[in-house]
C-alpha cells in the first residue's frame, strides 16, 4: 500500500482535494503524543490500487508557530506513516506566497507532487497559468485540479501510483531567520511571475466587499446581525429535529417496556440505556447545525473577518481574535471548541481561551434553562426569550470578567500576536461544509457519549437499588442509595435554597449538564404514570408540588435564580475536563479549572439566593 500526506497553506483547497481523493471512507486518527485528530482516508476504489491519504493541518511553512502547525511537521517525519510522498496543495491565485512551502518540502527530500487549485477564481480571458512551465522550473510534477468538478484528480492519482519511493529518508528543515523567509518569498514571487499572469475578479470584489464588511462602523453592525442570525437559526432549525430525536428515544423506551414487561432487565434497557442514549443524541441536531453555520462562514472567508472585528475587544481581555472560532464553537459544545484552540500561537492566550470556553452557553445547558423558563413563564414566551438571552449574555460577561482579571494578574513570558490572512471571498461548497460539520460533531458524540451513557446507567442503578422489588416507585426511591447520598450532602446545597433532591440533580449534572433534567424526573418520580402529557409537562407540575418538610415550596424565584446562575457558571462536564487535560497536557490545568469554575458558581448562586430570598 502507498501512503501520501496532503500538505498546504490554510485556505489552499486542501480539504476539497482530500474529499475528491477519499470520498466517504475516512477514519480519524488520534495523533500519538498529542491530541490532534488527523483524518486518514483510503483512496476511492475507482482509482484502483490500495492507497491512503493523510490530511494534515494547514500550515504556511515548515517552520511551525502554533500547535497544529507543529503537528503537520511531526506527521511528515513520523516513521509510523512511512510516507511514500507528499501532495503539496498550491493555490494558483496565491502561488508566489505558497511556493516556498513546496520548495521546503522538496529540499527536505520528499517525493513531491503538486496539486494546483483554485482555477475557478481566475478570470478566464485575462489569466494564463502555465502548469507545464511550473513543472519544468521546479522539476516536480504539477497537476491542475478543478475544485468544482474534480477534474485532474485522476491523473494525479495515477502518477502517484506509478511513482517510486525515494530511497533516502527525508531530513528535517533547516533553522531559518526572518531574512531567510523573506528571501524565500522573493524567489517564490520571481518564479510565479515567470509561470503565471493572472487577473482575479474574486480579488476585485473581495476588495469591494471588505469596504462594507470591514467598514469601521458598518462592519461591527453586520457582524452583530450575522451572529444573531446564526444563533437564532439554530433554534428554529434544530427544534423540530430535536423533538424528533427525543420522541424517537422516548417511544423506543416505551416499546421495550410494552414488549418485554416490567421486569428489572427490561426496565434497565428502557430507563437506563435507551433514555441515556437519547440524552446523548438529542443534542446532535443543534451541534451539527451550529457547525454547518460556522463551516459555511469559514469557507466563505467571513470568519477571518469576524475574528479581525472582535480582536480588539478580545485583546482587552488578554485574548486574541484567533480565539473567536473556539469561543463560537463553545456555544455548541466545549469539547470540539477546545480542540479548535490549537490554532492559537501564544501560550497565554491559549491558556485563557481554554479556561473561559466552558462559560459559553453550550447546548447541554439549554434543556435545563428551558425547563426552568417554562416553569417560570408558562404563557409568556417573550419573557422567557429575554431570560434565555440574559443567561447567554451572563455566561459571556462572566467569561469576560474572569479573562480580563486573570490576564492582568498572571504573567506569561511571551506576548501573542495577531496576523491573519483574509482569504478571497468565495462560495462555500455544500459537500465540504457538511463533511466538516460532521467531523466536528463527531467529537461530541465520540468523546461525551460514553460518559453520559455510563452515568445515566449508574444513576438508574443508584435510584433503583437496593429495594428494586418495591412496586411503589416513590417508596423505592425514598429508600434508594441515591436518596441516602442526597440526604448526606443536603447541607452543602441548603445555602443555595434547594433540597436534597435538587442536590442530587446538581451532582448528577457533573456527568453532563442535561442529565439534571432526567435526574429531576427520576427523583421527583415522574414518568411512570404513562398519561398523555409530555415528560416536561409532568415534571413541571411535579415541581410545583415539591415542598420542603416544613411545607415551603422548593422551587421559588429565588431558588430557581440560584440554580440557573449555578448552571451558567459551573463546569459540570467530565468530557470537557478530560479534553482540557489532554489538550493542555496538564492535569493541574484541568483540575484547577474544574475547582475554580465550580467554586465561583457556588459562591455566585449562594449570593443570588441571599439577595432574592
Amino acid at each position: 500500500m502507498k501512503r501520501f500526506a496532503l500538505v498546504g497553506s490554510p485556505n489552499s483547497g486542501k480539504s476539497t482535494l482530500f474529499n475528491w481523493l477519499t470520498g466517504r471512507k475516512q477514519k480519524v486518527v488520534n495523533y500519538p503524543g498529542s491530541t490532534v485528530d488527523i483524518a486518514v482516508g483510503s483512496g476511492l476504489s475507482i482509482y484502483g490500487a490500495d492507497i491512503e491519504f493523510i490530511d494534515t493541518p494547514g500550515t504556511y511553512s515548515l517552520y511551525p508557530k502554533s500547535q497544529d502547525e507543529e503537528i503537520t511537521l511531526q506527521a511528515l517525519f513520523d516513521e509510523k506513516w512511512n510516507l511514500d510522498g507528499v501532495i503539496a496543495v498550491l493555490d494558483s491565485t496565491q502561488m508566489a506566497r505558497q511556493l516556498p512551502l513546496v520548495k521546503q518540502l522538496k529540499d527536505c527530500g520528499f517525493n513531491v507532487f503538486i496539486a494546483l487549485t483554485m482555477f475557478d477564481l481566475h478570470t478566464k480571458d485575462q489569466s494564463v497559468v502555465r502548469a507545464d512551465l511550473l513543472e519544468k522550473e521546479l522539476g516536480l510534477p504539477v497537476f491542475p485540479i478543478d475544485g468544482i468538478l474534480g477534474g485532474g484528480v485522476k491523473s494525479l492519482v495515477s502518477a502517484i501510483l506509478k511513482s517510486q519511493k525515494n530511497s533516502n529518508r527525508p531530513v528535517h528543515p533547516k533553522v531559518v531567520t526572518a531574512k531567510d523567509v523573506q528571501n524565500e518569498q522573493v524567489r517564490g514571487q520571481e518564479l510565479a511571475d515567470r509561470v503565471a499572469k493572472s487577473r482575479l475578479s474574486a480579488h476585485e470584489w473581495t476588495e469591494k466587499l471588505d469596504q462594507i464588511l470591514l467598514h469601521p462602523l458598518m462592519g461591527g453592525l453586520i457582524f452583530f446581525v450575522v451572529m444573531t442570525l446564526l444563533f437564532s437559526s439554530i433554534y428554529w432549525m434544530a427544534a423540530p429535529l430535536m423533538d424528533f430525536v427525543d420522541g424517537f428515544f422516548a417511544d423506543s423506551a416505551d416499546w421495550v417496556l410494552s414488549q418485554f414487561g416490567n421486569g428489572l432487565f427490561s426496565k434497565f434497557i428502557s430507563e437506563g440505556v435507551i433514555v441515556g442514549m437519547g440524552a446523548v443524541f438529542v443534542f446532535v441536531p443543534q451541534i451539527f447545525i451550529l457547525f454547518v453555520g460556522i463551516s459555511a462562514l469559514e469557507d466563505s472567508g467571513y470568519l477571518a473577518r469576524a475574528a479581525t472585528i472582535v480582536d480588539k475587544p478580545l485583546s482587552l481581555l488578554g485574548l486574541n481574535g484567533k480565539a473567536f472560532v473556539p469561543l463560537l464553537s463553545g456555544f455548541a459544545c466545549a469539547v470540539p471548541a477546545m480542540m479548535a484552540a490549537r490554532s492559537m500561537n501564544s501560550k497565554k492566550e491559549k491558556w485563557l481561551t481554554m479556561l473561559v470556553i466552558p462559560f459559553m452557553t453550550c447546548s447541554a445547558r439549554l434543556p435545563v434553562y428551558a425547563l426552568f423558563i417554562s416553569f417560570l413563564f408558562v404563557h409568556e414566551p417573550l419573557k422567557g426569550g429575554v431570560l434565555m438571552a440574559a443567561l447567554y449574555l451572563g455566561g459571556i460577561i462572566v467569561a469576560a470578567v474572569v479573562a480580563g482579571l486573570l490576564a492582568r494578574i498572571i504573567k506569561f513570558e511571551r506576548k501573542g500576536f495577531f496576523v491573519m490572512e483574509l482569504p478571497l471571498y468565495r462560495q462555500p461548497k455544500l459537500k465540504s461544509v457538511l463533511k466538516n460539520s460532521l467531523f466536528r460533531s463527531r467529537a461530541y458524540i465520540v468523546k461525551t457519549g460514553p460518559v453520559i451513557l455510563t452515568l445515566s446507567i449508574v444513576l438508574w442503578c443508584l435510584s433503583t437499588f437496593p429495594n428494586y422489588q418495591e412496586m411503589d416507585t416513590h417508596k423505592r426511591l425514598e429508600s434508594s442509595y441515591i436518596a441516602k447520598v442526597g440526604q448526606v450532602i443536603e447541607p452543602v446545597f441548603e445555602p443555595m435554597g434547594v433540597d436534597w433532591r435538587v442536590g442530587i440533580g446538581l451532582m448528577t449534572a457533573f456527568a453532563a449538564r442535561e442529565v439534571f433534567v432526567s435526574s429531576m424526573a427520576v427523583v421527583l418520580n415522574v414518568g411512570d404514570d404513562g398519561d398523555e402529557e409530555s415528560l416536561r409537562g409532568q415534571l413541571i407540575s411535579q415541581m410545583r408540588q415539591t415542598k420542603f418538610p416544613d411545607g415551603r415550596p422548593v422551587f421559588t424565584t429565588a431558588s430557581i435564580a440560584s440554580i440557573l446562575v449555578f448552571f451558567m457558571v459551573a463546569l459540570q462536564c467530565i468530557s470537557t475536563s478530560s479534553i482540557a487535560w489532554r489538550e493542555m497536557a496538564s492535569a493541574r490545568f484541568a483540575l484547577g479549572q474544574l475547582l475554580f469554575m465550580n467554586v465561583l458558581a457556588y459562591v455566585m448562586s449562594v449570593i443570588i439566593h441571599r439577595i432574592l430570598v
Partner: protein, 76 residues
C-alpha cells in the same frame, strides 16, 4: 523611518523593513509582507483595532502592535 502606524488609509507605501521577534516577523513574511513591496492600508478598525492591509494579491489583518514593526517609506 516611519512605521505602518503613520500610514494613511488608501495610500500606497513601500515596505523597508520588518522588525520584531522571529516568530512574528517570519509569519508576516510568510504572508508576503516583505521589504521592497508595495503596501496599502485598506481599513483601520476603530479604537486602535486591527489594520487591514493589501500586499500584492494578499489581504492580511494585523494588530497595531504588528503594524508598528513594519517600516515604510512614502511612494511618491
Amino acid at each position: 523611518m516611519n512605521s505602518l502606524i503613520d500610514a494613511k488609509v488608501g495610500q500606497s507605501y513601500f515596505i523597508q523593513d520588518v522588525l520584531g521577534d522571529p516568530g512574528v516577523s517570519e509569519r508576516i513574511a510568510e504572508l508576503g509582507i516583505i521589504p521592497g513591496r508595495e503596501i496599502i492600508i485598506q481599513q483601520k478598525l476603530p479604537f486602535h483595532g486591527p489594520y487591514i492591509v493589501k500586499v500584492r494579491s494578499t489581504f492580511v489583518s494585523l494588530r497595531r502592535e504588528e503594524a508598528a514593526i513594519i517600516m515604510i517609506r512614502g511612494n511618491e
